[in-house]
Symmetry: C2
Subunit: 553 residues, 2 copies
């Protein structure tokens, strides 16, 4: 690969999924991984296999399918993605610097054509003292041992010194040299807390590359956070100073203010080729779709004034009556909407469109649906086409998102009706099917129609929780559009999961998504989707507890 090529390492499925409430199902992760492959990312960090058996299974599934050349056949449907169709992304799994984590990561990623193990260890004194309780020498030794061990399994090993920004620079050189000697192929420098500025971070990368013995044997990578709004600038300062891999997420999601946005870094390289003089493998026309998919599945909205993927990012085109004097669009426009896939051809379907046309459109949109799924989607499409004259790609994407959200249903919505208005006493009647298929019907009164529906559902499901977030937005222009609802809940008896990087327990929250022309129905679906996720987590926790109890007995 050319010296001027910047590898795009997407960590939407790992660091991005750390966003509160983003928790994705395996089906959603797989669908996003497929889109990342179409987008042409070089490396997909698919998860943290040691976190739980589910996480391991999710990464394995992505390694098997998206990490293998046979997947390329689907990409043939995308004329624009010819370059990425030929390529198969590297599938990476994260692992702490211990044998168990590395074994689990390898077990998950080894199914990919190009697997990678990504291991990390903190190198700042504050972490050594309080978190690791290890001496500097012990850390160097551990890095040497574990990178070596990872290399004994896998040819492609990435190492990250956590909290590099606050580590003693001299000591950092020792750690990185040890990692190179032990066989690391990529060294990634994180700005874990989003504290540095472009000048500082650029100088850090330059210094490390100049002073680490053996630096020319590895690819240098940067991983930035956006706490001060500087992640994109810091990442670009990294590549200007020699980094040739950038760790990014779609829409810049991630905990706190999030990670670096893939779309901003890629479009800066793309829009300013003379300045950066660097190549990348991204099919930029897939950016808008990747953005919509990640937003739908995680329930994390994108603000209209977000660079590149916000609804207004290119809006200055719409509704302007050029006065004839400005001949050149480029007077006020530095990118074309088509370049990032906004306003791409939107074949419109209607009520007379057949199953075949729908299937063809799904393939063009990149959804890999089985015949059963096509049947279900077709039934829902017909239902929607009865209510709405034209069905756009965005509507179809919402349908599929809703379908995927309802895959692992315990309780499902069987029917509902709501009365509300200014006279007070909003009332909902809800009928659910329970896991055994039995019907339950209950009426409830609330402060508003959504509150009434949720109270009725609660009375049936009986799984106490707190609603943390609730959002409705319309998919497309016009109020007859599908309403999309995302909610986020937290169990009353807190579910936790290990934050493996931080080595602390975090409260789990559960996101749900629903789409319907009736926003109140969409709200019910979204709440049920989140509740089903919570119920599964509660059951898993109970299973662990009872098997532990059995072992004790």
């Amino acid at each position: 690969m050319s010296l001027d090529y910047v590898r795009i390492f997407d960590t939407t499925l790992r660091d991005g999924e750390q966003s509160p409430g983003a928790s994705l199902t395996s089906a959603e992760k797989l669908e996003i991984a497929r889109q990342l492959a179409r987008l042409g990312v070089d490396i997909i960090e698919a998860g943290f296999p040691a976190a739980s058996p589910d996480d391991l299974e999710g990464v394995k599934q992505i390694a098997q399918e998206v990490g293998n050349p046979s997947y390329g056949t689907l990409a043939a449907a995308f004329p624009n993605a010819a370059s990425s169709a030929a390529r198969v992304p590297i599938i990476a799994g994260l692992a702490r610097a211990n044998k168990n984590d590395i074994d689990k990561a390898w077990e998950a990623v080894k199914h990919a054509k190009y697997p990678r193990i990504h291991t990390f260890l903190a190198t700042s004194d504050i972490h050594l003292k309080y978190k690791l309780k290890m001496s500097r020498e012990e850390v160097v030794e551990r890095v040497r041992e574990m990178v070596s061990y990872a290399r004994s399994l896998c040819d492609d090993v990435e190492f990250s010194p956590e909290d590099a920004g606050r580590s003693d620079p001299e000591y950092l050189l020792d750690v990185l040299e040890a990692a190179i000697q032990a066989g690391a192929t990529t060294l990634n420098i994180p700005d874990t807390v989003g504290y540095t500025t472009p000048q500082e971070f650029g100088a850090l990368i330059k210094g490390l590359i100049e002073n680490t013995p053996g630096a020319d044997k590895v690819i240098w990578s940067v991983h930035c956070h956006d706490d001060l709004g500087l992640a994109t600038a810091n990442t670009l300062a990294g590549v200007t100073n020699g980094a040739r891999q950038v760790e990014v997420t779609i829409n810049g999601i991630g905990e706190r203010a999030g990670n670096t946005s893939l779309e901003e870094v890629v479009m800066a390289l793309h829009t300013r080729p003379a300045l950066y003089g660097l190549q990348h493998g991204i099919d930029t026309t897939q950016i808008a779709r990747a953005s919509r998919m990640v937003s739908n599945f995680t329930g994390i909205p994108v603000q209209p004034n977000k660079a590149i993927v916000g609804a207004n990012a290119f809006a200055h085109e719409a509704g302007i009556h050029q006065d004839g004097m400005l001949k050149n669009n480029m007077t006020y426009e530095i990118m074309k909407p088509e370049t990032v896939g906004v306003n791409a051809s939107r074949l419109v379907l209607g009520k007379h469109s057949g199953r075949h046309a729908l299937k063809a459109r799904f393939v063009e949109l990149g959804y890999n649906l089985s015949d059963d799924e096509i049947d279900q989607a077709f039934a829902r499409f017909k239902e929607l086409a009865d209510k709405k004259k034209v069905i756009t790609d965005a509507d179809l994407e919402a349908l599929v998102s809703d379908e995927i959200a309802s895959l692992n249903e315990l309780y499902s919505l069987d029917g509902m009706q709501v009365v509300c208005g200014t006279m007070g006493m909003p009332t909902a009647t809800v009928r659910l099917k329970d896991p055994e298929g039995k019907q339950h019907t209950i009426a409830a009164i609330g402060t508003g129609p959504v509150d009434a529906v949720y109270k009725a559902i609660d009375a049936i499901v009986n799984c106490p929780n707190t609603l943390l977030e609730f959002n409705i937005h319309a998919v497309t222009e016009g109020i007859d559009a599908l309403g999309q609802v995302t909610v986020r809940i937290q169990g009353k008896e807190l579910q936790t999961r290990m934050d493996v990087q931080r080595e602390l327990e975090r409260t789990r929250t559960f996101g749900g998504y629903g789409a319907d022309t009736d926003t109140i129905v969409a709200s019910a679906k979204a709440y049920l989707a989140a509740l089903n996720k919570l119920l599964i987590a509660v059951q898993a926790q109970e299973n662990v507890a009872s098997s532990e109890a059995a072992l004790m007995a």
Copy 2:
């Protein structure tokens, strides 16, 4: 003022209001200006007085009230804002480089204690050729003349060379020198299209300050846009290289990807004092409230992973079970939520709270309500307290936003009821009062409850329009919270307004806001608020047409 002091020039009300659909009423602009004064910004760019008589009046109102020391008395209610209470912000008005615009700007801002006229002219060859049809010499002459003229009216004159980034650097020096000689006190360098990188932009500012004769007599300013996600980094590169004024907006709103975010630049200066070594006058604890107010009034949501003001920006604190090993919060946190006013003391009111307690709380929140307004707000507060156990500050802010949104009502909501659910046929019955106070009641069927309500309203109001955007979100945690709805519409017969900077006509869109525990009722209110704005614009256009017709006759 110290050489190390960076002036914060807020242009939320001018460049921020260029965002599609942001169109604010005069009451909303005044309320935001009050909050900007509490925030401690040094300069409020209040609008473009020559754009329309309404714009002139709006700027004048802000100059009279917020631009005068008597306003400081209100700020006494804010113990934390002591520094800003003592200061009175400069009120600026934008003007093209012609006498009429400058006269209008002066007419509006002269009522402030510290008025400023901000005039601009493009300096790139492409603009000279296609837009201005002027020679380079003519532009220099015009700048000299108009800056001189502005100085004959006002001691404080800012000049911006539009499209500076693409202007011939040698020529730019001539223009800037002429502006200094003519008496400009601030020179502002815009990156109009958001195209530059921090290194380039920093070098540009350095070069201009080093090479413009008389550079030491003026304050240098930077004005960046976020098209590539680099606005904050570019602005900071500007101050690192000598700029001492930054032009910013709350939440980074503005057309396309928006302007530089006030909160990001301020918190970078604040969090890294040793690096920048610069002072500012912002009371950072007012940032969160300013962000919420601008989002509510403009209807432009803030994404959860937005730096500083996103809902998740500090979320990593919540729900973490520290495992005891990490003694120091600063291990993963570079700012405290309290610093920007998140989680600030939230006095909670309930159904037994009296009118006095409510009034006291409004004053503490910084709302300047008349007795009549307090009466109305108290009635609505009681209504809400019946439905919801605790009323938080966020609920009160939503109430006031809703109140302000319904100030210039032509049609008002008198009552409604809705039936919807999975059986199809969502039906709404709506009763409106028209401008004469007459009641109209109509029922309509839609694809969903909101569609049905909007169809019923349309049947009464009969003002054809297209719904461009529709968003609902919950104000606070818990589904019994107030639902907040923002919509954006566009008239079927397009309303336009002059984009004075670009000198072209733009289609106007109208935003509306509504809050209610019943989201469907909130949707109706929001739609009516937007419709009322559209109706007023249609009437204004008809008045102009008929007075023109009268003149012709």
